[in-house]
């Protein structure tokens, strides 16, 4: 470089600083490629929403409204009691949150406020690793262990029941709740902890009365994400909650129940089992669309909470 510039010290012309036509074309091509990659996910999402909404609309238009309130969800028989899968979903999600809220927030507080730097460094990846256990494995665990050793040991219940499914879903989402809650608490600035300790607060007082309130938006966001994940969880509930193609309306967690997701998989597994009955096929789209609206709404709310906690600090 030095030799090059030294040979013609003042001979800089505008052309020297201009980009070549070939290079400019290549830059544009690469840019377009990345744009296509980014756009494809948007296009695919839009296509999914349109398909869901279109078929869901077909169902709404064609269904006899009287069949939407019956004794249970039996789409092959033309009985589409919406309350059955929705209530099943809510019961199992409720049980899951009853498990994941104390465990997840507790683990988050421990990691953020109590663990030393070394144990945090070891524990956090382990907890995040738990999140990568395939849900089918947790489903087996629920059938083979949770149901007989916890539910059936305490209550008179069949092997397939909503309580065992709910507990397993709770275990599934605990790492998610713990990780997001921990991030929120970790983001609480150190000077607030110092202020608290400087006033003679103990660690538990500082954690509960200073850190948790300051991180509350993020903690709520963690819980909402957890609910959203629990509502959408499919494999565990299909395996453990016990409903097959149809289910009677049931609020009792000790009995079998039907979730929206399990209702869909129960019919949509295999090649062409769904096509037969009149509106069975469309009813699944309708459930899917409801499910999409619920989780999408929850994610929007959680996003708003996360933004609030970011704005605060």
């Amino acid at each position: 470089m030095t030799a090059h510039t030294a040979s013609r010290p003042n001979a800089l012309t505008p052309a020297d600083l201009q980009i070549g036509a070939g290079r400019r074309r290549r830059e544009r091509a690469i840019g377009a490629l990345f744009l296509a990659a980014a756009a494809s996910s948007i296009v695919i999402s839009a296509a999914i929403i349109i398909t869901l909404a279109g078929n869901a609309l077909n169902f709404v238009v064609q269904v006899d409204p009287g069949k939407l309130v019956t004794d249970g969800w039996f789409p092959r028989r033309g009985l589409y009691d919406l309350a059955t899968p929705i209530v099943g979903t809510l019961v199992i999600s409720g049980i899951a949150m009853a498990v994941a809220t104390p465990l997840g927030i507790g683990a988050g507080i421990y990691l953020s406020e109590y663990a030393g730097r070394r144990s945090r460094k070891i524990l956090k990846p382990i907890i995040e690793l738990l999140a990568s256990i395939p849900s089918v494995v947790l489903g087996f665990f629920a059938l083979a262990w949770i149901s007989p050793n916890i539910v059936q040991a305490l209550f008179d219940a069949p092997l397939f029941n909503m309580l065992a499914a709910g507990i397993a879903v709770g275990i599934l989402i605990t790492p998610l709740v713990a990780s997001v809650a921990e991030d929120a608490m970790h983001a609480v600035p150190e000077y607030l902890r110092e202020a608290s300790y400087g006033l003679g607060a103990r660690r538990r007082t500082t954690s509960i009365q200073v850190v948790v309130p300051a991180a509350v938006s993020g903690i709520v966001a963690a819980l909402i994400l957890g609910v959203s994940r629990a509502i959408g969880e499919t494999m565990i509930v299909s395996m453990v909650a016990g409903a097959t193609g149809g289910s009677l309306f049931n609020l009792n967690p000790l009995d079998q129940g039907q979730t929206m997701t399990a209702a869909m998989t129960a019919l949509a597994i295999g090649s062409d089992q769904v096509r037969g009955a009149a509106l069975t096929f469309e009813s699944l789209y309708f459930l899917g669309f409801l499910l999409f609206l619920m989780t999408f709404g929850l994610n929007l709310i959680s996003d708003a909470f996360v933004r609030r906690v970011r704005r605060k600090y």
């Binding site: 030393g116 730097r117 600035p189 000077y191 607030l192 902890r193 110092e194 202020a195 608290s196 300790y197 400087g198 006033l199 003679g200 607060a201 103990r202 007082t205 009365q209 200073v210 309130p213 300051a214 605060k312």
Partner: protein
Amino acid sequence: MGAMSTTDEAEQIAPAAAGGPPMTFDGDQVVFELDDLSCYYGDFRAVREISLQVPKNKITALIGPSGCGKSTLLRSFNRMNDLVDTAHITGSVRYHGVDLYADGVDPVEVRRRIGMVFQKPNPFPKSIYDNVAFGPRIAGYRGNMDELVEQSLRRAAIWDEVKDKLKSPGTALSGGQQQRLCIARAIAVEPDVILMDEPCSALDPIATLKIEELMRELRENYTIVIVTHNMQQAARASNFTAFLTMGEDRAGYLVEMAATEELFTRPANRITEDYITGRFG
């Protein structure tokens, strides 16, 4: 930089200063007595072999160049350094004759008696009222909380500015007001000592003067130790001044401590003179 050229002198003078007679006070006037205190972060020694006394109901300033361990030293007075995993000390810090680092001493009890105001105003994201009431509440205060909050805010010279908005968040106040709120919060637990770690470094000159005025009023009831790297502030606001600097090992050590006027007009030590006349630091 400037400090480099004086380290040789520092090394020569340091042993003499460290070995010389430290400034002493009558027994009942001594709040803190440091004996050969060194503070470490892991293997790194941040503060080396400091012996000094802090007198009651006076303002004692710790001054010195950046990185000389002033804040570390201050934080050893109420065991705030305990919050850092690797921090430990050798030597002793006696508070009214009691060794603060003896076995079984609860740092929480220590901090309830020795309050702290920090460099950056750090009110909780709670209301002004709840900020002040936080300390008394956790200490199980049973008296009239409204009165205590008002009295603390009055003593911190901020009552008139906030009396109509006690429910609004403390974080919405200006920087100077936030710092006075933090002082009110510290006073509310009725401590014996207030440690101030560069309390004005984030404030404008007018807010700074207000805090200094406040410190002079608080001196009547509290012992105050203030870290500052603003020499004018030390000269204006303190009764005694301890000058620290950094040795070649990057550990801070005490060069001298004297009545503030004396230290600024007739420093006993060449390095002190160089520092206060602006030749380094």
